[in-house]
Point group: C2
Chain length 106, copies 2
């Protein structure tokens, strides 16, 4: 899905006919803050992904994928990173992996 993570949560919540207050309670969160999260004003705390996963019966892996694609998408958006530069960023990520392997090889 190409929506924000906030919209994703809202989708799950309404599909399951929960109010903000109800879901917020399950997530151990204030409903006001959940509202902000759904509206993209605040970030969802990564620590709560497992809870979200359990509440809606969605594999953690899937939820985490929604999350990290949102995070990176947000960063791309915020930095106004072109597709061209994104390729370079990708290469730099590869480079970091390489570095990491070298470090471990010590």
């Amino acid at each position: 899905m190409k929506t924000t993570f906030g919209e994703y949560i809202r989708y799950l919540r309404t599909k399951n006919e929960l109010t903000l207050t109800q879901l917020a309670a399950k997530l151990d969160l204030d409903s006001a803050n959940l509202s902000k999260i759904e509206n993209g004003i605040r970030d969802f705390d990564e620590k709560r992904l497992p809870k979200l996963s359990r509440i809606f019966g969605i594999k953690l892996k899937k939820v985490r994928e929604e999350y990290i694609t949102d995070q990176i998408g947000k960063k791309i958006y915020e930095t106004n990173c072109s597709k061209q530069l994104l390729r370079i960023a990708e290469e730099k990520a590869e480079y970091r992996k390489l570095l990491n392997r070298k470090e471990k090889a010590l």
Copy 2:
């Protein structure tokens, strides 16, 4: 260049035959912290990009590109985001742009 931003700074610094202390002074920074930045232990503060640009006579745009590709590359690396997921992240960035346009249209 597909290096980390820290390595980029180190490259510029050594090419210009500056010591950590010298460059740190120009950047209004402690040499110990600059060392950490070059070694990837700490982040370079975005606020200092203009200074960096001036010191080495490199266009701010170019320096900023080095910076954001590093930032995003780092995020891709840290989240272990596959190329496949990165495509989705890209789409989500596009989606955010769309949202933004809609908001402005109000």
